[in-house]
């Protein structure tokens, strides 16, 4: 299935000027690997050394907040993952 991915502009040094794209996966557990394959080095910026999503990274899949864990809600063809600029800042 094809999943859309959207990034905030602050991630342009990592993903380039094209702030949206797609990944192809068969199941939810493949999301992280697919992100890394599409944008090498990206997952290091989304997940910490323990494998958890970094605390201030905001992520939504379709209409729900999501930490992209393997056992999360079902994902379907055409779903969209949105990484949103953190509201914390300074």
């Amino acid at each position: 299935m094809t999943i859309g991915v959207h990034f905030p502009r602050v991630l342009s040094p990592i993903v380039g000027d094209q702030l949206h794209g797609t990944i192809e996966i068969d199941e939810r557990s493949q999301i992280r690997a697919a992100l890394e394959q599409a944008w090498p080095g990206l997952t290091n910026h989304l997940f910490d050394s323990s494998g958890d999503m970094r605390p201030h990274v905001l992520c939504f899949v379709d209409d729900g907040a999501d930490r992209l864990e393997s056992d999360g809600p079902d994902i379907r063809d055409g779903s969209v993952i949105r990484f949103v600029q953190a509201v914390s800042g300074g």
């Binding site: 602050v10 040094p13 910490d48 050394s49």
Partner: protein, 335 residues
């Protein structure tokens, strides 16, 4: 060209001190720069949200991410890259959480310098305000010197295969006589270009010099209004040293309410205000540890926490403040 790293992105300014590139990497801290022999430029970025990144430019206009950043296999976090130091074909990266990595392919891939990263008392190391970080790496042949806050100075004479900790004579942050191995809060170090045993040190506890590769350190503070500060630099062409005294540990503002770089003409035996050109109006501006750069030919640049850029092109005889104000400056490099 001067590269300026700030808490809000990077800036390149030209020899006339006009901005040529702005703002590079919006939203990211730019913590270090390194120009390679090949002419390309590496910038180290850090984000409170997205961690650390390395970026490379071949033309200083277009930037691409280096997909691999130094990574601890042990699960320690890599929060920030504090320095990228060239040693021939080798690159060293000093990082937070404190550790050292090396790259043999120009920064594309990185490996741990395990003898330092697996130091036996590593679990007793404690961070300074800026974090637990390896922030300075000096090299000369097989000599590798690493400054780690708030831990101390580590010296290798075999290219990083083994290290010894060398802080004898430096006051511990726990006070004189405290019997703890860590706790020497080195802020910055610089070595003589031809004599790697001659090293100067701006420490949390004062200003020091060693003539024997760090085995014994002695205070060199004559003429200073205060001994607390962060950067220390050296201009090869004039043999001059430069520091920026702050009021105190508790009051980290310009000493005596005036922003001044101090310099030494005699290897640190004595210090005085560096040259002329300073504002007479009160200023409480300060300089962080990686925000002083020298080119060895008389140019010294300091970037301040207030976003000011000061430059001398005659080894500290006269200073000029650039007509711009940037975000809080974290790093400078003459490229």
């Amino acid at each position: 060209m001067i590269a300026i790293g700030t808490a809000k992105g990077g800036y390149l300014i030209d020899d006339s001190l006009a901005i040529q590139q702005a703002t590079l990497f919006p939203g990211w801290k730019v913590t270090a720069w390194s120009a390679t022999d090949g002419g390309d430029l590496i910038a180290a970025l850090a984000s409170n949200w997205y961690g650390a990144s390395l970026q490379r430019s071949l033309d200083r206009i277009e930037w691409t991410p280096i997909s691999e950043v130094p990574t601890y296999p042990s699960g320690r976090d890599l929060n920030q890259i504090w320095t990228i130091t060239r040693a021939g074909d080798l690159l060293y990266a000093g990082v937070d959480e404190a550790g050292l990595f090396s790259s043999e392919d120009g920064g594309e891939t990185w490996g741990e310098v395990s003898p330092l990263n697996a130091w036996p008392t590593r679990d007793q190391w404690t961070p300074g305000l800026g974090g637990l970080c390896a922030h300075h790496v000096l090299t000369h042949g097989e000599r590798v010197v690493v400054g780690i806050s708030a831990v101390g100075v580590f010296v290798s004479d075999d290219g990083g295969s083994s290290f010894t900790k060398r802080d004898e004579g430096v006051t511990s942050i726990a006070g004189d006589g405290a019997d703890i191995e860590a706790g020497r809060c080195v802020h910055s170090i610089v070595a003589h270009e031809r004599d790697p045993d001659l090293i100067w040190r701006q420490d949390h506890s004062g200003v020091y010099r060693t003539r024997d590769g760090g085995r014994q350190w002695s205070r060199i503070e004559s003429g200073l209004p205060s001994t607390f500060g962060f950067p220390i630099g050296r201009d090869r062409s004039s043999d001059r040293l430069f520091i920026v005294p702050m009021e105190s540990d508790e009051n980290r503002v310009s000493a005596e309410g005036l922003f001044r770089v101090f310099m030494s003409d005699d290897g640190g035996d004595s210090w005085q205000v560096s040259g002329t050109g300073w504002d007479e109006s009160p200023s409480y501006d300060t300089v962080l540890r990686n925000a002083m750069a020298t080119d060895g030919e008389g140019t010294v640049v300091v970037g301040t926490t207030g976003g000011n850029v000061w430059i001398t092109r005659d080894a500290g005889d006269t200073w000029h403040r650039a007509d711009l104000q940037l975000p809080r400056i974290l790093s400078t490099e003459i490229i």
